[in-house]
Symmetry: C2
Subunit: 100 residues, 2 copies
């Protein structure tokens, strides 16, 4: 009768939803490799590459590697906030004169 | 009776599961900022920073900014595979002599 029908239908829906949920949590571990590194810098550019001539460098240049800097490609310390928020451990690249 | 009870119970479970699923998909858009940039380089190091002296640089040095290079901190082209797999657009940092 109608009752049984409703019970069967919602039971299936419930089971399917929970099954899907369990599947997603169990098999989401390789999702790591699907993560974007750069969220919003020059997204219209297919590959964001920067080149600098050594002759133009001052005593010390700190380059961003976390892609969160507002002064990208230079570091502005944004990696600290990123690392705190995500538990990541990224930091910049420093190119400097030996004594600097 | 028992039938009604079973129908009500599974209906709630189904609704709760679907509600949770809808919530997660709708509100996961800011998850972007939760993403890790560095998945497996020196994860025991709280902040991975590299420094090089200009005097030690050759004509050209290409530094990785995608954190997937097997030769990190140097670039080994891994950004291409990363960009293809994720639709990202990251690329390296090049420090070179003017003529190089």
């Amino acid at each position: 009768n109608r009752h049984e029908w409703v019970a069967a239908a919602s039971l299936t829906v419930g089971a399917a939803a929970i099954g899907y949920l369990a599947y997603k949590t169990l098999y989401s571990k390789d999702k790591g490799s699907k993560l974007l590194v750069n969220l919003d810098i020059q997204k219209d550019n297919p590959k964001v590459v920067h080149a600098f001539d050594i002759e133009d460098l001052g005593d010390k240049a700190v380059y961003c590697r976390c892609w969160r800097s507002k002064r990208f490609p230079m570091c502005d310390g944004s990696h600290t906030k990123h690392n705190d928020e995500t538990g990541d451990n990224v930091g910049p690249l420093i190119i400097k004169k030996r004594e600097a």
